[in-house]
């Protein structure tokens, strides 16, 4: 700094500004390669998923002409002949391209039972001459299956033909759009329940990790350096051990003939093995075990930094240990507690592997149903919608905890 603080030479100011820009650019350049990589490898995929949850061009690409012809349809009756003929010729083309199955799948989602109607119609139109379809397409279609006369069928086709649609989000909160455009509850109520169940399980797991983790961290924080470091090994070793290994261990412990059952039977507590594995109980206990280090580590880090003399002073002045802990230590350890709780809760809400392996039917969480729609039912758009909701939930939780707990800390500190 060459000039007096109250007066800045314009040339120097320019130089300084240039220097700042240069340094900012320099710092930024270090980050650029990773930024490009993360945008390609991570951000773009997440964006694609968000897009996919509202975008499904399959039907629109398969039968564009039929959909265009349907634009003028009143929706009350069977569409007129031009629509039917157009659709009959589309069906013939699809039967020969082997794409009729894709249409069948999509319409079936909107109206169960349509799959066989589409497929059998495609089969019967496959070998018909084009001129014959142009002349008698409508009657051929109605002959192949009388459900083509039903307006509901065409509503299903039209709604499946929307390129952009909110229907997957509606489904993922157990709603549907009726033919008249109103929104109503679906017959099957499943996903909202599952979200609630997932949150409930994550909450139980978080509470359990606090109940188990807090005393341990408290004890370690008060122990001598040597003992604390020694005990830390027993927290870190599970932490570093493969997730699959720990899940395997719980299967070995909890299965019908497993270690827990045989021990209990050997000492005569029970005479029939308990059903422990493949239940909500096994999911919760295995996940508590797996996530416990995520609670202990931040708690310990914070507690270690708390001056023990406050507690000693309070106790020496006659406070009961619990009272002293509640009034002095607990508030000071809250940052660690909230960090741990936040971490455990967020991780458990999106957990997949452990529920998939030990959860059986009761222990399934929202991630498992997303995987189910990705891998079993092939309803990728619904999986994307459910995943997007989960993502929003996670980000919301993250923000909420950051705001609430963070704000509280300032007041207490």
């Amino acid at each position: 700094m060459t000039t007096a603080p109250h007066r800045l030479d314009p040339a120097d100011a320019r130089n300084a500004a240039r220097e700042v820009r240069k340094r900012r650019l320099q710092a930024f350049l270090f980050v650029v390669p990773l930024l490009i990589f993360i945008v390609f490898a991570f951000v773009a995929p997440i964006t694609t998923m968000l897009f996919r949850s509202v975008h499904n061009p399959t039907v629109a690409n398969l039968v564009p002409d039929t959909l265009a012809a349907l634009d003028d349809w009143s929706g009350e009756t069977t569409p007129d002949e031009t629509v039917l003929i157009q659709f009959a010729s589309d069906m013939k083309r699809m039967a020969n391209d082997r794409t009729s199955g894709q249409l069948a799948d999509e319409i079936n989602r909107a109206l169960p039972g349509m799959s066989s109607v589409v497929k059998s119609t495609a089969r019967s139109l496959r070998r018909v001459e084009d001129t014959e379809i142009a002349a008698n397409g409508a009657s051929l279609l109605l002959e192949a299956n009388d459900r083509w006369a039903d307006p509901a069928t065409w509503h299903a086709l039209r709604s499946a033909g929307q390129v952009y649609s909110s229907s997957y989000y509606l489904t993922s909160v157990d709603l549907e759009r009726k033919a008249d455009g109103s929104i109503a509850q679906r017959d099957t109520q499943i996903y909202v329940k599952l979200y609630i169940k997932t949150l409930r399980m994550a909450l139980i797991i978080t509470v359990l990790t606090i109940v188990l983790g807090y005393p341990l961290a408290f004890f370690m924080a008060q122990a001598s350096d040597g003992l604390a470091n020694f005990l830390m090994v027993f927290v870190l070793l599970p932490f570093w051990t493969s997730l699959l290994v720990r899940t395997t261990a719980w299967i070995a412990l909890l299965q019908t003939n497993g270690v827990v059952n045989s021990t209990l039977m050997a000492i005569g507590v029970i005479d029939q093995p308990l059903e422990l594995l493949y239940t909500e109980f096994s999911t919760i206990i295995a996940m508590t075990h797996i996530l416990l280090p995520f609670m202990v580590l931040p708690l310990y880090a914070v507690m270690r930094g708390i001056d023990q003399s406050f507690m000693r002073a309070a106790i020496s002045m006659g406070s009961r240990p619990l009272g002293a802990w509640y009034r002095i230590f607990l508030p000071m350890s809250l940052p660690g507690l909230s960090a741990g709780a936040l971490l455990v809760f967020i991780i458990s809400v999106g957990y997949y592997i452990t529920p998939a392996l030990v959860g059986g039917t009761d222990g399934q969480m929202i991630s498992n149903i997303i995987a189910f729609h990705m891998q079993q039912s092939n309803n990728w758009e619904l999986a994307a919608a459910l995943g997007s909701l989960l993502l929003v939930l996670i980000l919301l939780l993250y923000w909420l905890f950051d705001r609430l707990v963070g704000a509280d800390n300032i007041k207490l500190g």
Binding site: R24, A27, F28, F30, V31, P33, L34, F37, I38, F40, A41, F42, A44, P45, I46, T48, M49, L212, G213, P215, F218, F219, L231, F234, V235, L236, L237, W240, T241, S242, L243, L244, V245, T248, A249, W250, A252, L253, Q255, N257, G258, V259, S262, L292, I315, R320, P321, V349, G350, Y352, A356, L357, I370, A371, M374, Q375, W380, A384, L390, I394
Partner: protein
């Protein structure tokens, strides 16, 4: 016997011992499942349970057959090779890019620091199932699904946050004036980076790399969605084993993995101490 202050009452004593007992029980809860699988992996029977013979320490009840089975099984061989190859490659990418970025992020001049840090750390917070679904949709367009390249990129992205966290932590104890001094003496930034910065933050870089490696080595959800049969890894092989035919080969693999993680843990601990020493002297 520990001596207590004179003002301790009955409540203080009992509280003190109760805490010890609880802490001990929690540690047992943490360690027992991992310890239980080790002897089970030497079971000579194809079960997941302790047999009578094992409990009476009959040497015939123990065998190495499940370890032999790992060596004989072509699929486990493939899985082991793949896990190391993918893990090392992913860790290299994550460490290289992550270290560079951490240097930039810990500069006081870094623009949009909060936002960019949040973005780069987000692979740690977003549930794996969401990442897996998104990557499946997106990587499909580039024919990356079912290839080693795709899997390595995916795993590298997961490892990045760990590298950033460890390296940034090391850098916070690093005197930036050394960097400026190097620059002001006329050296190229790249040269300053290699000759001054890297040697000082090396423990943090290696720790980050190990974290990234373990993240990939232990990861199974992305493998389930993105990998084909030829990219099968150890966790993937364990996953299908646990879902289908449960046999003690999985326990033998699990035991080996525990030994491996113990080794990694002690390596990291050594690194941490070294790092503490270095920053203490800096």
């Amino acid at each position: 016997m520990k001596r207590f202050p004179e003002y301790y009452s009955f409540w203080h004593y009992s509280g003190h011992y109760a805490l010890r007992v609880v802490a001990f029980l929690v540690l047992v809860f943490l360690m027992l499942p991992i310890l239980v699988i080790m002897p089970l992996s030497f079971n000579s029977e194809p079960f997941f349970t302790f047999t009578e013979g094992m409990l009476s320490l009959d040497p015939d009840a123990y065998s190495l057959r499940w370890y032999q089975e790992i060596l004989d099984d072509q699929k486990w061989q493939l899985a082991i090779r793949n896990s190391f190859a993918v893990g090392i490659a992913a860790a290299l990418i994550a460490t290289t890019l992550g270290t560079l970025a951490a240097v930039g992020l810990s500069s006081p001049w870094m623009p949009y620091k909060r936002l960019i840090t949040a973005l780069l750390l987000s692979p740690m917070i977003v549930p794996l199932i969401i990442i897996a679904a998104g990557m499946f949709f997106f990587y499909t367009r580039f024919n990356l699904v079912g290839t080693f390249t795709g899997l390595i990129i995916a795993h590298a992205a997961l490892g990045v946050p760990f590298v950033i966290i460890t390296v940034t932590a090391t850098l916070s104890g690093f005197d930036r004036s050394l960097f400026s001094a190097g620059l002001s003496l006329g050296a190229q930034p790249v040269k300053v980076f290699w000759d001054i910065v890297i040697p000082l933050i090396r423990p943090g870089v290696i720790a980050g790399g190990l974290f990234a490696f373990v993240t990939s080595f232990d990861e199974v959800v992305l493998v389930l969605f993105l990998a084909g049969p030829e990219q099968r890894t150890i966790p993937r092989q364990m996953f299908s084993g646990l879902r289908e035919q449960i046999n003690p080969t999985i326990l033998a693999v699990a035991t080996l993995l525990v030994v491996l993680s113990a080794t990694l843990l002690f390596t990291l601990e050594a690194l941490r101490r070294r790092s503490a020493r270095l920053s203490g002297s800096a």
